[in-house]
Amino acid sequence: MTVMTYRQALHDTLRAELQRDESVILLGEEIGVFEGSYKITAGLLTEFGPARVRDTPIAEEGFVGAAIGAAMLGMRPVVEIMTINFSLLAIDQLVNHAAKMHAMFGGQVSVPLVIRTPGGGGQQLAATHSQNLEVWYAHVPGMKVVAPATPADAKALLTAAIRDDDPVLFLENLALYNTKGEVPDTEQLGRIGSAAVVRPGRDLTVVSYSRGVVIALEVANQLERDGVSIEVVDLRSLRPLDRETVCASVRKSSRAVVLEDDWLSFGVGAEIAATVQEGAFDYLDAPVRRVAAAEIPLPYAKPLERAALPSAADLIRVIGELLDATRFTHAEGGS
């Protein structure tokens, strides 16, 4: 085990995969000479050369489309899109082409493509640069969407994404790059589509992914001191979605809150709420609650941005309401 940042885990994994497999190539805006807007690709151009680490023109649709073509012929392109917001310029290539080719070409062609891109707000980058658009891709059959919250999962899931034969959107988050955690030194091949109970608890389940998991854990630790035992489920993958791990947790705790950085409507919270009512309805003591961002273009002013994004305080408030509504007592908590 080595303690390292999320950024370092991504960097080391890219490097290991470039070393392991000649067909792995990296593409993106300023990933080479500049070493990436967030320095994930530091040193890789020098080590692997411009044939394998490519600076592209500022044309997202162009380089995503070209990466799809390369993937069809057996390359394993890993594309960095500066932020998920700019993936919108390439969405036709992703949704209409990458996600559909295997099916529409009768299984004769596969697209082993990875799109690495950070999402999320909180960095004062204003409305067009602060979105969480991962559900757009999670909605599409043929795409896979993974969203690790820890450096260890970043390593395991990036390895899995690069070796996967289908297109994978690999969601990163600006607020996670500097977070630290233990990462196993040996090769880790994660399983795409498995959630994890990252903190066991009895009284209530908080379901989240990516940066939300960090907040959920913080809140769980805080409420522990008040005698409330919270279980945190990290989805890790949005498609495929590990519904069973979520339902098993709720069958145990009988209360569920979904925390997402995204807007409320039509989001991950809605999908999880439906999943829980299908798979654990009889165990629920109260309706599933959702904590999400205000449904507005994210403001640029710092205090307003902070107010619009879901916070630990929002989560604590909703957990409190849910516990009150179900007449939670500490005796129950202790039983």
Binding site: F34, T46, I58, E61, L89, A301, A313
Partner: protein
Amino acid sequence: MSEHVVAVQPEPDMIQLLTPEGQRVDHPDYPLGLSDEDIAGLYRDLVLVRRIDTEAIALQRQGELGLWASLLGQEAAQIGAGRALRPHDMAFPTYREHGVAWCRGVDPLTLLGLFRGTNLGGWSPSEHNFNLYTIVIGAQTLHATGYAMGVVRDGAVGTGDPDRDTAVLAFFGDGASSQGDVNEAFVWAAAGNLPIVFLCQNNQWAISEPVERQSRVPLYQRSAGFGFPGMRVDGNDVLASYAVTRRALDDARNAQGPTLIEAFTYRMNPHTTNDDPRRYRLGSELETWKLRDPIERVRAYLSREAGYGSDYFAAIEDESKKLAEHVRAGCRALPDPTPQSLFDSVYVTMPAELRAQRDEFVEFVGSLEEASA
């Protein structure tokens, strides 16, 4: 720096009316037609917008602005183009056209409010005929194209009436020239013979990427394949930038269709206050471009050829200081937006669902404030 590429050299056919040394030169296709007084006015514009820029950078360092995208080095391209516009023409900027904003009568404080986060949009685009800033690069060239279609529909092209005929000016950068949006705008503008001028400020860099990453041919040559003229102007020469843009806008108004202008210039400061260019470009490049400074050459011309003396320059300096004070004090006094204002402009008519969210949000924010009081 391992793969550093030297910036494209200016083409021999780059249009210049004022040399870096301040010598006036004539160009057969671009008669200047400005008096020395007019040129002195352009000098004033250049000095004042540079001052706004300098103050904004300082304010950002002091934590008064979230971010600033500096125009240093690009003043001439922007003032030349901005002054070539007629009041009823419409301009579509990127996020760096503070000089054009100045020419369109946008109060610098309104501009700063955008970067401070105190106003959500600031100026009225229809009042100033200057669109709001667009940050997703290239998108505004299509909006400008659509606006130009509207101009044609209104019959405000080629009537010969200078108060009626309207042109559209779309700004973009060398990096944006690779975007599909920009190329599709070219297609539309050409197919519809639209009254639009595309003005690419080639400042040599798209954050860390040199222009060679975007193009094998000089950017102005791109228009040929789309079927409209393109030319390269010395973007550090305010006179040439003015004359070339004026001519292209005239052509647009006279139903001669689109033009692409490449203003060859240099971004002397970091991409934004978040950037550190030492990581990707050589300091010697900046030294070369300092010799082509857009302001110095006008000053040299005015003092050597037009008889402007120290009084004139001192008066401008004085005005610049006052403007700086206005910007500094005014910026700090800009009122903070209220939390509920977040919700106010999401829709023209707020749906009930959003109103309920707003009320809940305001109540929650209020309870937090009470708790912390």
